[in-house]
Amino acid sequence: MLAFTIKRILATVPTLIAASMLIFLFIHLIPGDPAAILLGDTATPEEIAVLTKQMGLDQPVYVQYLKWLTNLLQGDLGTSIFFQVPVLSVIADGAETSGFLALMTMIWIIVLGIPIGAIAATKHGTWIDQITSGAAMFAASVPTFWLGLYLILIFAVGLGWLPSSGYPSIFEEGGLANLRYLLLPSLTLAAPNAALIIRLVRASMLDVQREDYVRTARSKGLHPVRVAYKHVFRNALIAVAAAFGFTFAALVSEAVVTETVFSLPGIGRTVVQSILRRDYPVIQGVILVIVVLYMVVNLLVDLAYSWLDPRVSLK
């Protein structure tokens, strides 16, 4: 496993270089430049050209790329054009929000998705199965912005139990209690993904239940709960583990909407705003970090395969 891990980590280097080139190239191919956005509508093309030159954005793209890459290799992702702070600090600040949001969302997904899916499978064909499947379909179909706004209306405006939006850092006044700001967003974000996991756990367990070894276990006279947990559930988790990789990817993209609705200072909103304003250093830095995260998650998923199913060998 160690050799496999080292090999995979080494394989990420060329991937990262290629990704960095693609990111840089695509961003600079989009029309528009930050100087024009900074100066606003009243600026003339001549004024924009002056600022573009002062910012060094008039240089050839390959020169700008090499400068960026050189700084990157020294751990410097550059400075945000608009915030005028290091990109790393913008990412770190957004990462706290996004990290906690993802963590709480994954907890909801696991806490709701896996048990409900397992119950639906064990109660296959009954009214419990019908209700859980229907609820899962509903949660998967509801747009996140709609669900988010209704949760705000009910729990913030109506009942006044939870804040409507924003997220102060846990390192600020309020401490860990600030995590309550993420309860509604994480529920919103978890809903469609938990629905996916419910469906997947249910379908996967139903498949496994038809396997020969399950029939053998039952014929041996094992307790149904032991059969369901040890033989069915655990084997069904192999497919679910793969789905968690996809779910993480979905979280990153769906979080953009949730972070906007709940006005969260997360990575998703940061990257969208930076694209709209052409804040090149932030876009490049954030996307690169997301690429790294994807690679790490995929590696962890592969490692989890072998842990869940010893037949899978890592080469």
Binding site: I30, P31, G32, D33, A36, I37, L38, L39, G40, D41, T42, A43, T44, P45, E47, I48, V50, L51, Q54, M55, S80, F82, F83, Q84, V85, S89, V90, D93, G94, F145, L149, I152, L153, A156, V157, G160, P163, S164, S165, G166, P168, S169, E173, G174, G175, L176, A177, R180, T260, V261, F262, S263, P265, G266, R269, T270, Q273, L276, R277, R278
Partner: protein, 513 residues
């Protein structure tokens, strides 16, 4: 203490923190903004959001009273000599910057020089400035090549205007906006912190020295009664409204027209109409393409359009818009009906005939619009249908705003583009008056009138010339105005001292919570 006790204590502490959380912000005004400002450097940035925040920190020599007349702010008086060619401005004494330094003519000189060279609106006046000197510790003298009538209006307009910074922060300053560590002004609030995507925070400046006189618009007494102003980006309008109703924000800006009637009737919400309307403009390309110098074809397009449906679709309630052809609104000193007979005819048949007479053969006309501003797009859709009905072949090109700004600088890429304009107190500040603004309207007729307009200091004469300029705009059609739109904001009824109608940018000095 054993584990269980510690665990329970943590729970109790968290629960207490939850309960007390609402009292944390008692001395903070929380303002929900549509987004984040590009920068707060007022000299080079013209974003309205930037000014809404920054005019609490930075002050200019002049400002506007409630009637939009320029009055002294950091200036205590002035003498105009030599037939309007020499302006001697005396400064208030005892004014301190946020870094503790006294404001003197050295700082004003450095600020005016930087604004003149790199400021967004500085070149309008400094292209006519011969010299600017500190002629005393508290005196500045500006010598003009020719008399320049709108000088005081330009000095009073803080948006892209001559905010006064300490000379020490302007060493090596260029067109590039100042970094936040250099946000040092003389205003009633000082810069505290800018947390990306979280908030911009200002704190009360205890050594603030207010101008004399009763509060009047932006002029007169300024008192910071609230400790902290926190401007929080809340891009989703539903969240801004819900957040204000839930008590998470005290003030929220840019609320859509279709919510106005409900919010106006809600006792838990105060609606505040902005006194200075914004207006939308469609610029025509005077440099290249079928509209270049073809004023007859432009008039044909103008004749095809009825502006009222566009305003109804894009805004909604009648209270929030006026189909007003004058470039400045009713009640304003610059309001005139000159040329406005052609403002909103909506005559498709007549327009078709005019277009044929102008030699139009059905060639595509490229219209650029951005979806970043929903009202631009809504208006573009209504205009496109009306123009198509009059026989125009419209190629509607939809971009994001950054792309549109880039493309509009390339005259071969477009024939018309949509934008909007904030209220300005002097017509010289309207973008169509700038020869270099995309559209590049710079005909000899305009040049002659503009020269007379800027040279005159007589209000009556200037008004008469502006009437002629507006008539020329309707004749040569470098741009088409859609109408006046009165945007509105909402506030918690707990806020006391808010103006019932803000001039342009809301202010929170003299406001309590």
């Amino acid at each position: 203490m054993n584990f269980h006790t510690s665990w329970k204590s943590t729970l109790i502490a968290s629960a207490t923190a939850l309960c007390l959380s609402t009292s944390v912000f008692a001395e903070t005004l929380r303002y929900a903004t549509v987004g984040e400002p590009p920068s707060l450097d007022q000299q080079v940035i013209t974003s309205d959001l930037a000014t809404t925040i920054a005019h609490h920190m930075f002050e200019g020599l002049y400002t506007f009273d409630a009637s939009n007349s320029p009055v002294g702010l950091l200036a205590s008086g002035e003498r105009v000599e030599d037939g309007g060619k020499t302006i001697v401005i005396s400064l208030r004494e005892g004014v301190k910057f946020h870094n503790g330094e006294d404001m003197t003519s050295k700082d004003v000189l450095a600020s005016l020089k930087r604004w003149g060279e790199f400021g967004s609106r500085g070149s309008l006046i400094f292209s006519n400035v011969e010299s600017v000197d500190a002629t005393g510790e508290y005196e500045i003298t500006i010598k003009m090549k020719e008399p320049f009538g709108p000088w005081k209006n330009l000095m009073a307009f803080i948006n892209g205007g001559p905010a006064i910074y300490p000379a020490s922060v302007l060493e090596d300053a260029t067109k590039e906006p100042l970094s936040p560590d250099k946000y040092i002004g003389t205003g009633p609030y000082k810069f505290s912190e800018w947390k990306p995507n979280r908030h911009v925070e200002l704190k009360r400046f205890d050594d603030y020295k207010s101008a004399d006189g009763a509060a009047d618009g932006y002029a007169g007494k300024r008192e910071a009664t609230i400790d902290t102003l926190r401007f929080i980006p809340v891009p989703d309008v539903g969240t801004r409204v819900s957040g204000l109703k839930a008590g998470d924000y005290d003030y929220a800006e840019s609320i859509p027209g279709d919510l106005f009637d409900d919010l106006d009737a809600d006792a838990n919400v105060t609606t505040i109409l902005n006194g200075g309307p914004i207006f939308w403009l469609v610029f025509m390309n005077s440099k290249e393409g079928p509209l270049k110098e073809n004023f007859a074809l432009r008039r044909a397009m103008q004749a095809a359009i009825n502006k009222t449906p566009a305003l109804q679709v894009a805004i909604g309630p009648d209270k929030l818009w006026r189909a007003n052809g004058s470039f400045l609104p009713e009640g304003n000193v610059w309001h005139t009906k000159s040329g406005t007979d052609n403002f909103s005819k909506g005559d498709a048949a007549g327009a078709k005939k005019l277009a044929e007479e102008a030699g139009y053969k059905g060639d595509p006309i490229k219209v650029m619009v951005s979806t970043n501003y929903a009202f631009h797009y809504d208006t573009a859709v209504v205009y496109t249908k009306q123009l198509a009905k009059a026989g125009f072949n419209i190629d509607l090109q939809v971009y994001d705003w950054a792309t549109l700004i880039k493309k509009r600088a390339q005259p071969d890429q477009w024939d018309l583009f949509f934008t909007h304009h904030g209220f300005v107190p002097d017509p010289i500040l309207i973008s169509v008056m700038n020869d270099n603004y995309p559209g590049w309207w710079a005909t000899p007729e305009k040049a002659a009138l503009k020269a007379k307009f800027t040279a005159s200091s007589d209000p009556k004469e200037r008004k008469a010339i502006w009437n002629d300029i507006q008539a020329l705009i309707y004749d040569q059609v470098p741009t088409m105005k859609t109408g006046d739109v009165y945007t509105y904001n909402i506030a918690s009824p707990k806020l006391k001292g808010l103006s019932s109608s803000t001039l342009i940018w809301p202010h929170f000095w003299n406001v309590s919570k």
